[in-house]
């Protein structure tokens, strides 16, 4: 069996300038900080980051934004990171805002091989601009398209050597979704265990989605 366990540096080696990267986490809870830190050190530029939000200063994807590595941010909320506003106004970074449920479903849809889906969310708002509206049973829906990435940076809590992963509490959020929707999936996890140690009923992300496992992800310190 192929060994999926790598060092942080080996794991992010394929990530180059201009990469499209999905990052797990909700206000940085569930973001794989060791992978973000390594990307800051590596200094890759012009990244497209797809994440629920813009993090907040010093945590999560905010670190990449502060280091001016992000060209485009696709997120549902950026209000807790003032740097996002600054770079938007200066024109340095493009921000594409997507309703949170639509963002989650677009990522799931990409992973599940769908060509799109119809959602009532955003009808009659700025979000609908440029999108096809379909009327089903007298109700209007927006056609939203799937969203894929080159890389997914996932934060796991327990991961076996196949990559089967469980998440602790509210760290789950977008992690299981992005793991299905990227060409290469890197899981930074707190604990690596042997195959068979995780109950098959409790696995949340199957190892078939996971290309690379990195140990040493730590709980954030309050």
């Amino acid at each position: 069996m192929k060994n999926k366990i790598k060092t942080v540096e080996e794991a992010i080696e394929p990530i180059k300038d201009g990469a499209i990267i999905m990052v797990g986490g909700f206000m940085a809870t569930g973001t794989p900080e060791i992978l973000i830190d390594a990307l800051v050190v590596k200094g890759v530029k012009n990244l497209t980051i797809i994440c629920n939000d813009g993090g907040y200063p010093g945590r999560g994807v905010a670190k990449l934004i502060s280091a001016h590595q992000v060209k485009t941010l696709i997120a549902s909320h950026v209000g807790l990171n003032p740097e996002v506003g600054t770079q938007m106004v200066s024109g340095e970074m493009e921000v594409i805002l997507v309703p949170q449920g639509t963002l989650a479903e677009r990522i799931r849809g990409a992973g599940a091989g769908l060509g799109g889906f119809l959602t009532p969310t955003g009808v009659g708002t700025i979000v609908a601009e440029g999108k096809q509206v379909l009327t089903i049973g007298g109700k209007d829906y927006l056609l939203e398209l799937p969203l894929k990435a080159d890389f997914a940076l996932v934060r796991g809590t327990v991961t076996d050597k196949k990559g089967n992963t469980c998440y602790s509490k509210s760290t789950r959020n977008f992690n299981p979704l992005i793991a299905t929707a990227a060409e290469m999936v890197i899981v930074a996890t707190e604990k690596i265990v042997e195959i068979g140690e995780i109950d098959p009923e409790h696995v949340v992300t199957s190892g078939i989605f996971v290309d690379v496992i990195v140990g040493g992800e730590k709980p954030w310190q309050i």
């Binding site: 909700f26 206000m27 940085a28 809870t29 569930g30 629920n52 939000d53 907040y56 997120a75 549902s76 909320h77 950026v78 209000g79 807790l80 506003g85 938007m88 921000v95 805002l97 309703p99 949170q100 449920g101 639509t102 963002l103 989650a104 479903e105 990522i107 799931r108 959602t119 009532p120 969310t121 955003g122 009808v123 009659g124 708002t125 700025i126 979000v127 809590t157 998440y167 602790s168 509490k169 509210s170 760290t171 789950r172 959020n173 977008f174 992690n175 299981p176 979704l177 949340v204 709980p219 954030w220 310190q221 309050i222």
Partner: protein, 216 residues
């Protein structure tokens, strides 16, 4: 006069029924949880990924992996469940949330809502708000009646919409308004105000309910 936020939160709490599934927005709406009768079984949904949201975590006993949608450390009640964001918004969009309580910048007489952006000034993003208001069975706006005297309850929202025709009820420190096909109906009034004062604080025309009562 009691604290404005408390008045609003107390009144909103009365809208929730035993057995309801409820999503409370950040800020004032979060306070609603404090005023629900203790013998009620109300399940709170946290859109970042769980059902069974409990109280805030005690200082020093925070679980780093457990935050609410406002990134505050919280607890869960027995019988909770964790899930991913697609499942979370499936619950929301699918009509499985009985009520959602949110603040707002503007609401209008058609129940249109504008609470996510002030162009050129504030662009925090809509987060989960657009999904919550189209998905929840009942949408309650909990907010101060005016923004320092400036109207927030309008004939027509001037800020970009969050969603169209979604608001069911507006609860402020002055009054309770219900959104109907006919327009806004004043159903309850804080006895510290007159109907005329409420009218002046509201741009949209008000229909006075024949059953108008005190907001308690």
């Amino acid at each position: 006069m009691a604290d404005i936020k408390e008045i609003i939160a107390r009144r909103v709490a009365k809208e929730l029924k035993d057995g309801d599934v409820v999503n409370l927005g950040i800020g004032l709406p979060t306070m609603v949880a404090n005023y629900i009768p203790h013998d009620y079984d109300v399940t709170f949904q946290s859109e970042n990924g769980f059902l069974g949201l409990g109280t805030a975590a005690e200082k020093g006993k925070e679980d780093i992996d457990l935050v609410n949608a406002g990134a505050q450390y919280v607890t869960v009640k027995p019988g909770a469940m964790f899930f991913d964001s697609a499942t979370s918004f499936g619950i929301i969009r699918g009509g499985h949330v009985d009520a959602t309580v949110l603040g707002s910048l503007q609401v209008d007489q058609e129940g249109n809502l504008a609470n996510w952006i002030i162009p050129g000034v504030m662009l925090p993003g809509m987060g989960g708000a657009m999904d919550l208001v189209v998905g929840a069975k009942k949408v309650i706006i909990a907010m101060q009646h005016t923004n320092k005297g400036q109207h927030k309850i309008l004939k027509r929202c001037t800020l970009p919409f969050t969603a169209l025709k979604v608001v069911d009820m507006i609860v402020t420190e002055m009054a309770v308004l219900e959104v109907t096909e006919m327009g806004l109906v004043l159903t309850e009034i804080n006895p510290e105000y007159t109907v005329e004062q409420v009218r002046e604080a509201t741009e949209a025309p008000l229909i006075i309910s024949p059953h108008l009562k005190d907001m308690i």
